[in-house]
């Protein structure tokens, strides 16, 4: 984010930086929550077709694998979409101003594990549907 590195000395700049950090943090959290919710839904459907009295070990194995596959799928989709966005931008010129897509896209194509990992230590329990819907 080199564009926003001009902050530094004054108290106002710190305030500005706070706002930016807050916005980035909120969006990253929303992104992680969305990923977890979708993964939960998809993998529950695939791996627990007939819910019994407890999660069986076979179901747990399937869930672990399914999580990894969902991340892979997310990666393929995001790579394809971002490439297409860049291609369309090249072909039709950029209505949004030069370099806009490149700048925006830079922060998007991260490994989905990174989307989650930054929350793992502090707030992972808040990401669970169990607490969200409570």
């Amino acid at each position: 984010m080199s564009d926003y590195s001009s902050y530094g000395s004054g108290g106002d700049s710190d305030k500005k930086q706070q706002v930016m950090d807050q916005v980035r943090g909120d969006l990253a959290l929303a992104n992680a929550q969305e990923l977890i919710n979708k993964m939960n839904e998809k993998c529950f459907t695939k791996c627990v077709p007939k819910p019994g009295y407890r999660l069986e070990s076979g179901e747990k194995t399937c869930l672990s694998k399914c999580m990894d596959r969902y991340m892979e799928a997310w990666n393929v989709v995001s790579r394809t979409y971002v490439n297409r966005l860049q291609e369309e931008t090249r072909q039709h010129g950029n209505a949004l101003g030069g370099g806009f897509i490149e700048k925006v896209v830079g922060g998007v194509r991260t490994n989905p594990w990174y989307i989650l990992i930054r929350f793992l230590d502090e707030t992972i329990s808040n990401l669970c549907v169990c607490s969200l819907r409570a």
Binding site: D3, K16, L27, K65, C66, V76, Y81, L85, L96
Partner: protein, 82 residues
């Protein structure tokens, strides 16, 4: 916020928000596409996505976007005929 920041800072912040907003929109689309295309393309859970599943996911995204462009163009045509 209006009084708290200088004009230059306000400009910088609004540019920043515009970028973050665009990024968030792209991320939302990625979640939607993954959801949709997962159902279409991924069968039994294996140790890795196989080649055909990956190809299907990628085609799925491309064709969804084509569909979206098609609809917009078609509506544009209809509008021009009116």
């Amino acid at each position: 916020m209006v009084k708290e920041f200088s004009e230059a800072e306000q400009r910088e912040l609004s540019k920043f928000l515009e970028n973050e907003n665009a990024k968030a929109q792209i991320q939302r689309s990625i979640h939607t596409f993954t959801d949709l295309c997962w159902d279409k393309c991924v069968g039994k859970i294996g140790n890795k996505l196989d080649r055909s599943e990956e190809q299907c996911l990628s085609n799925c995204v491309e064709r969804f976007l084509d569909t979206s462009l098609f609809i917009v163009n078609r509506l544009e045509e209809v509008k021009n005929k009116l």
